[in-house]
Amino acid sequence: MATETGQKKSSSVEELLKKIESLSLQLREKLKSTFENIEQIEALRIEWVGKKGILTEMMKLMGGLDSEAKPRVGSALQSLRNELLQFVDVQTQKLKIQQFESQIQSEKIDVSLPERRDWIPTFVGAQANPMSLVQDQLVAILERCGFLVEVGPEVEHEFYNFDALNIPPNHPSRALQDTFYIKGRGEKIVLRTHTSPVQIRTLLNSKPPIRMICPGRVYRSDYDATHSPMFHQIEGLLVDEKIHMGDLIGILTRLVSEFFGSDLKIRLRPSFFPFTEPSAEIDCECPFCAAKGCSTCKGSGWIEIGGSGMVDPEVFKAVGWDSEKFRGFAFGMGIERMAMIKFGVSDLRSFFESDSRFISQFSKWRNRNI
C-alpha cells in the first residue's frame, strides 16, 4: 500500500469507508439475532475483533493511510468496534445471570418454613458496639439525675442546627464546623453538626422545667486519626428558674465520677460557644493517674471532655422563652472521646471499622454502670 500513488490512496480511503459502512450494516444485522449461550457471543467477538477478526484486519490497513485519512477511517472503525464490544459485554452479563436462573429455580425454597435457631456466636457476652455501650452508660447515669432522653433527626434544617443556636450565616463559628450539605437545597439543609438542634426542638415543644439529654449521631466533613465524618455526641439541657453554673459542675461531677468509677473533680475553663454565655470547656481529673499527671493527660492532671455553659438569652429568644425568668445550662460531649479516654483507644477510626474481634473485647465493660 505504501508504494501506491496519492491518487490511488484517496480512492482507497473512499473505498475503505464504503467497506466499513457495509460492514457496519452487516454487523448490526448480526446483532439482531438471538444468542443463546456465552460461547456464541464469544465466537462473534472473535470473528470481528479477535486476532484475525474482520475489524482487526481492517485496522491493519490503516498503517498505509496518510495523516488526513487516518483519523476518518480510524474513528469509523473504532466506533464500530466499541459498538460491538459494548454489545458483547451487555449480552455476556445477561447470559451469565441467565445461567444462574436455572440454578436459582432449582434452589428455590419454601420461605414460610420455620426458622432454625442453632447459629452459634463466636464470642462470649453481648457484643454491643463500644459507642452504644458508652452511650447507654451516660444515659443511665443522667436518667438517674432526672434527665430524660429526647431524639431528633440527623438531617436538619439550618434553623435548628444553626440559626436558633445563635450561629448566624457567615459567622466564623459556622465555618468552624465543617458542615455536610444536602444536595439541591442551597445551604439550608444539613447533616446535623452537633446534637444541639434537639435542644431547640425540645424547647419549642415543652414547658419548663426541662431536664433532657440527647444522645446521637452527628456529622462533620473531616477524616483522620482524630476526626471521623460521623461520630456521636451526648447533650444535656436543664432549664429552671434558679440555676447557676454551680449546678452544672454538680451534675458533671456526678456524671464523670460514675462513668469512670472513681471520685473525680470537674474544672470549668472559660471558652466560647455561640449558644451559651458564659461558656466553658469541661475538664475532669485524669482517671488514670488520680490527677497526678501522666501520658494520657499530658502531665496536666486534667482531661478535656466537652463543652458547656449557661443557655444564651438569644437561644431563649429564638424559641420564645422568657430569658429573664428562666435560666439553664447545657453541656455536650463526644461519646467517642469518652470511650477513647475510658478504654485507652488511640485511633478513633477503630470504632467505625466494624471488626467484631475488636468490638468483642468491650463486653466486659457492659452494664457496669446501669
Binding site: I104, W119, T122, I189, G246, P270, F272, S279, F351, D355
Partner: protein, 874 residues
C-alpha cells in the same frame, strides 16, 4: 496565631525580657484558665545552642573545586583559626558569620562533623539563614553585623532567645489577635499595663490642616466603615532590618521588601491589617466599590480571579487594585523599586470579608482579622506607627494630609460604650459570690474601666476592642472569667418533678430491638452512613431520585446517604473475610434516608425522611468446630442459610409486635413469587425502593410486608431477608473464584419516619411501650405429643398448612412444630409433592387429656389438610 514572647516583652519596657521567658510555664498554666488556649510552645533556638559568632580571616579558592572556598575562621582569638570549606558565594575575608562548630546539631537533626571535602579538611560549617531555621530560603551564608562579638553565642547576639506560642483563640476574641492584644491578657497576670509602642504623631482629622494628596471615594459605606489613607514618598529601599525580619521569620511570615514587611510587622504587633499600594500605579482616585460583572484581578498569590458583583474591591479610575481586606493585586503591589506608597488602614464589614474569602477560598492574615473584629479607634496610632517605621527604615515621609472617610458621619465609630452590671444577676448566673469593688478591679486588670455605682451595680465602660462585650450577660462571663471559674461553688440542682419526655419511648424502641439481637450473640457494628454509586447500582434505578445525595461529600464513594443498612453490613462482612475471620454475625441499628418531595424549607422542613432500620447479616459456618462434633458428619461445616437469618427476623418481629401491634400481621413472601406475579412485580419495587432487589437470590429470599388494602393484599413492604444472588456474591464479598460462602442478610424498617413519630408522640397519641393483656395461668396437667406426616403438593406453603392445622386443632392444641421435610428427585420431578411432618402438643388447663379427645383433634386436622390442601397421610 503565633506569638513571640519577646515580642510581648516589648510592651513592658520596664521588664527584663528574660523574666517573661522564665515565667512562660506559669503563663501556659494560667492563660487557659482565663479562656486562652496555648496549643504549643516552640523554642526557636533549639539546635542553635552551640552556634557562635566567628570571623572569616581568609578565604581562598579550593584547589580542586571551582565553587568552593577554603576559609580560615576565627572563633576564639586565643585559639588557632579553624579551616572550613564553604560553598557560599558571599564567603569572603573580613565578614562576621554564624559558625556551627563540630559536635553541634542544627535544626532538622543536622549533625556537624569534621570532614574532608575534596581532599581538604573542614572543621565546622558556616551557616545560612535556612540552615539555622531562620528563613525558608537563603542565597548564601548569613552575614552578621560588624558589632557582633567573635566567640559570643549567636542566639543572644541576634536576640533569638525567644519562645513562640501557638495561641488558639475562640472566634469571639478578635481583640487578642496581635501581640499587643495578648499583652493585655499577660498584663493582667503581671499586674502591669502594656505600653503602646513608639509612634510618629500624625494628629487626628480635626487638626489636619494640610491638603490630602490622595482622593478616596467609598461607594459601599455598608461594607467599608472606615477608610484611612496616606501618601508616603521618598522610599530608599534597603532590605528590612534584622528586628523586623527575624520577628517575621519566627512568626512564620515570609519576608518580601521593607514596605510590605513593615505592614506585616504592624499587623502582628497591633492587629490592624494595612495595605500598601505603589502610588505610581494608582491612576486617579481610590474607589471602594463592589466589583463589576466580568472584572478580573490577579491577586498577590498569582491567581487570576473572576470577581463577583458581591465582592468588595479597591479600585482606581482604571481598574481593580485589590480584593478589599482579603488580598492585594499583583499590579499595584509595591516592589523593590517603589518610591511612593499609598497606605490603606481601613475597616471592612466582617460579613463581606467572610463571604469574599469563602467565595475565593482565601484565608489571609488580613481577612482572618477583619472577620473577627478590628479596632478602628486606634487607626491614627496605627498610621503613626507605620509613619515612624517607614521613616526610620526607608527614609520615607508623609506627603499631604491623610484622608479619613467614615461611613457613619456622626463619628460614633470605635467609641466606648457603657453597660451596667447588676451584681445580683451576676451571682444568680455564675454562682460566684463577689463584691462590687472586686469585680470592678478585675475588669480594670485587662484595661476595661469600670466604676462601682452601688453595692449591687458596677458601671462598665467597654473599650472599642472588646467586640465580644455587648450585653450584661457578656459582662457576667467576663467577670467570671477574670475572677476565675474556680470560684464557682459546686452544688447539685434540687430535684424537681421532671417533665415527661415522650420521644424517650422512641429511643427505648431502638434499645429494645438492639438488646434482642445482642442476646443472640451478633456483633453491633457502626459503619459510616454514606454510599457510592457502586452500591447504588444494586437498587432499582427508577427510584434513584429518591436517594439523598450530599452537596460536598468527602469522596465519591461517600456521596449518598444510605437508604438501607445492608451495604454497611456487607462491607463489614467483607472486612471480616479479608482478615481471615471466616464466620460471624453482625448487625446495625440506625437511620436511613430518603427524599420526601412534599416539603417547604420555609416551614423548616428538610425534605428528607429518616427511618429507623435494623439490619443483620450472618456469614460462614453455622457453628464453630466443636470437640464433640462428628467429624464425618455432613453437618460438620454447613454454612448459614436463609433459615438461620429467619430466626433473627422472628426475634425482631416479636419485639416489634409488642411495641407496635400494627406489625403483628407481618407476612413473608418469596421474592421469586413476587417476580412471577406481574402485579406484584410492578408495584413492590415502588413500595420499597430501599431494598436492593438485584442483590438478592430470588429463590432464597423473601420480602416482609404488612397485609391490608393494597395491590395483591400488600399494604406496606417493611423489610427483606435473603441470601446473596449467586452472580454477585463472589464479587461483592471479594471471594476467590469458585469458592462459596453462606451469607444471609435481613433488614426491617421500624415504624414511620422519625419526625412523624416524634410529632405523634408530642401530640400525645402515642402509647406507652407496654404489651397488652394478662399473663396465662400456669398449667398443672401433662402435655401429650403426637406426630403427623403429610404429603402435600410442592407449591403449598408450609405456613398455610400449619395455619390450617392450628385452626382446627381444637382448644387443647398448645404447640405445633414442623419437624421434618422430605423430598427426593422423584418427588420433585414426577409427583410434584413434598412430605412434611408435624409434632403436635396437646394440653388441658382442667384435666389430663383422654385418648379420644386427642385422636378426635388429630382426625380434624388430617381432614382439614386433605380437603383444603390436597394432603395425603403418609
Amino acid at each position: 496565631m503565633k506569638i513571640s514572647l519577646k515580642g510581648l516583652a516589648e510592651f513592658f519596657p520596664q521588664l527584663d525580657p528574660q523574666f517573661l521567658l522564665q515565667k512562660s510555664g506559669d503563663f501556659k498554666r494560667d492563660l487557659p484558665l482565663s479562656g486562652i488556649e496555648i496549643g504549643g510552645i516552640r523554642n526557636p533556638t533549639e539546635g542553635l545552642e552551640k552556634v557562635c559568632v566567628a570571623k572569616i580571616l581568609e578565604a581562598v579558592q579550593h584547589p580542586k573545586a571551582d565553587r568552593l572556598r577554603v576559609c580560615k575562621v576565627e572563633k576564639n582569638p586565643k585559639e588557632e583559626p579553624l579551616q572550613i570549606v564553604c560553598g557560599a558565594p558571599n564567603a569572603r575575608a573580613g565578614i562576621k558569620v554564624a559558625l556551627a562548630p563540630v559536635g553541634s546539631v542544627l535544626p532538622g537533626n543536622f549533625a556537624i562533623k569534621e570532614s574532608e571535602i575534596r581532599g581538604v579538611v573542614s572543621r565546622g560549617m558556616l551557616c545560612s539563614g535556612k540552615e539555622l531555621g531562620l528563613s525558608e530560603e537563603s542565597d548564601g551564608i548569613l552575614e552578621l553585623p560588624d558589632s557582633a562579638q567573635v566567640g559570643t553565642s549567636f542566639v543572644s547576639t541576634l536576640g533569638l532567645d525567644d519562645q513562640i506560642w501557638e495561641v488558639e483563640l475562640t472566634p469571639d476574641r478578635g481583640d487578642c489577635l496581635s501581640h499587643f492584644g495578648m499583652a493585655r491578657e499577660i498584663g493582667r497576670l503581671l499586674k502591669m499595663t502594656p505600653e503602646f509602642p513608639e509612634i510618629e504623631n500624625i494628629g487626628t482629622s480635626e487638626n489636619n490642616s494640610e491638603i490630602p494628596l490622595v482622593n478616596v471615594e467609598v461607594q459601599n459605606p455598608k461594607a467599608c466603615k472606615m477608610y484611612l489613607a496616606q501618601l508616603f514618598e521618598g522610599f530608599n529601599q534597603k532590605p528590612s532590618p534584622n528586628f523586623i525580619t527575624s520577628k517575621l521569620n519566627l512568626l512564620g511570615i515570609r519576608t518580601h521588601n521593607a514596605i510590605v514587611d513593615i505592614t506585616n510587622f504592624i499587623l502582628m504587633e497591633l492587629g490592624h491589617p494595612l495595605h500598601a499600594f505603589d502610588a505610581d500605579r494608582v491612576q486617579g482616585r481610590i474607589l471602594v466599590r463592589n466589583a463589576k460583572l466580568g472584572e478580573k484581578l490577579k491577586t498577590l498569590d498569582g491567581v487570576e480571579r473572576k470577581l463577583s458583583v458581591d465582592d468588595l474591591v479597591i479600585a482606581d479610575s482604571e481598574r481593580v487594585l485589590a480584593l478589599a481586606g482579603v488580598m492585594g493585586g499583583e499590579d499595584s503591589a509595591v516592589g523593590d523599586k517603589t518610591t511612593r506608597v499609598i497606605l490603606e488602614c481601613a475597616l471592612f464589614d466582617p460579613e463581606f470579608i467572610r463571604a469574599t474569602a469563602k467565595r475565593h477560598k482565601i484565608s489571609s492574615d488580613s481577612s482572618y482579622r477583619f472577620e473577627r473584629g478590628v479596632d478602628p479607634s486606634i487607626r491614627f496610632k496605627i498610621l503613626g506607627r507605620a509613619a515612624l517605621l517607614f521613616k526610620q527604615v526607608c527614609g520615607a515621609r508623609r506627603r499631604g494630609a491623610f484622608v479619613d472617610v467614615l461611613s457613619d458621619k456622626s463619628n460614633k465609630l470605635g467609641l466606648e460604650h457603657e453597660i451596667n452590671l447588676d451584681l445580683r444577676v451576676f451571682r444568680d448566673i455564675s454562682g460566684i459570690e463577689a463584691q462590687a469593688d472586686e469585680i470592678s478591679r478585675s475588669f480594670q486588670s485587662v484595661g476595661i474601666s469600670s466604676q462601682v455605682k452601688s453595692p449591687n451595680l458596677v458601671r462598665v465602660v467597654v473599650p472599642a476592642h472588646r467586640f465580644d462585650l455587648n450585653r450584661e450577660v457578656d459582662l457576667i462571663e467576663e467577670g467570671a472569667r477574670l475572677l476565675g471559674y474556680s470560684r464557682i461553688p459546686p452544688r447539685y440542682p434540687a430535684q424537681v418533678e421532671a417533665t415527661r419526655s415522650l420521644t424517650r419511648s422512641l429511643y427505648r424502641k431502638g434499645r429494645i430491638l438492639r438488646e434482642a439481637i445482642l442476646a443472640r450473640g451478633l456483633t453491633e457494628i457502626m459503619p459510616y452512613a454514606f454510599l457510592g454509586e457502586k452500591e447504588i447500582e444494586f437498587f432499582d434505578s427508577d427510584f434513584r431520585n429518591q436517594f439523598v445525595d450530599l452537596e460536598n461529600p468527602l469522596s465519591a464513594d461517600w456521596a449518598t446517604l444510605r437508604p438501607s443498612l445492608c451495604f454497611g453490613i456487607i462491607s463489614s462482612i467483607k472486612n471480616h473475610l479479608a482478615l481471615g475471620q471466616m464466620r460471624g454475625g453482625v448487625f446495625d441499628l440506625g437511620s436511613v434516608f430518603c427524599q420526601n418531595p412534599n416539603f417547604s424549607v420555609e416551614n423548616r422542613d428538610t425534605g428528607v425522611d429518616e427511618f429507623l432500620h435494623v439490619g443483620w447479616g450472618l456469614f460462614g459456618e453455622r457453628k464453630p468446630l466443636h470437640w464433640s462434633t462428628d467429624k464425618s458428619s455432613k453437618e460438620k461445616n454447613v454454612h448459614v442459610d436463609f433459615f438461620d437469618g429467619k430466626s433473627l427476623l422472628t426475634d425482631v418481629l416479636f419485639e416489634l409486635q409488642t411495641l407496635d401491634p400494627r406489625t403483628s400481621g407481618a407476612q413473608i413472601q418469596s421474592l421469586n413469587d413476587v417476580f412471577q406475579n406481574p402485579e406484584l412485580a410492578r408495584v413492590v419495587p415502588a413500595m420499597a425502593p430501599w431494598i436492593p432487589l438485584r442483590l438478592l437470590h430470588p429463590g432464597k429470599s423473601a420480602l416482609i410486608y404488612l397485609a391490608g388494602q393494597g395491590p395483591a393484599g400488600v399494604q406496606q413492604v417493611i423489610g427483606f431477608l435473603g441470601e446473596l444472588h449467586p452472580f454477585y456474591a463472589g464479587q461483592i464479598l471479594n471471594l476467590p473464584t469458585g469458592s462459596h460462602l453462606g451469607c444471609v442478610l435481613g433488614e426491617l424498617r421500624i415504624g414511620a419516619a422519625i419526625l412523624s413519630q416524634i410529632k405523634e408522640l408530642n401530640l400525645g397519641n402515642a402509647k406507652i411501650l407496654q404489651p397488652k393483656g394478662k399473663a396465662l395461668p400456669q398449667i398443672r396437667f401433662p402435655v401429650v405429643e403426637r406426630d403427623l406426616a403429610l404429603k402435600i403438593p410442592r407449591q403449598t406453603r408450609a405456613s398455610d398448612l400449619d395455619r390450617t392445622l392450628r385452626k382446627v386443632g381444637g382448644k387443647y392444641l398448645v404447640s405445633l412444630q414442623c419437624i421434618d421435610r422430605f423430598e427426593n428427585e422423584e418427588s420433585k420431578t414426577e409427583g410434584q409433592w413434598v412430605s412434611l411432618a408435624f409434632r403436635a402438643q396437646f394440653q388441658s388447663t382442667e384435666a389430663t387429656l383422654k385418648e379420644e379427645e386427642i385422636s378426635s383433634a388429630l382426625k380434624d386436622m388430617i381432614e382439614a389438610a386433605k380437603s383444603r390442601h390436597q394432603a395425603e397421610l403418609r
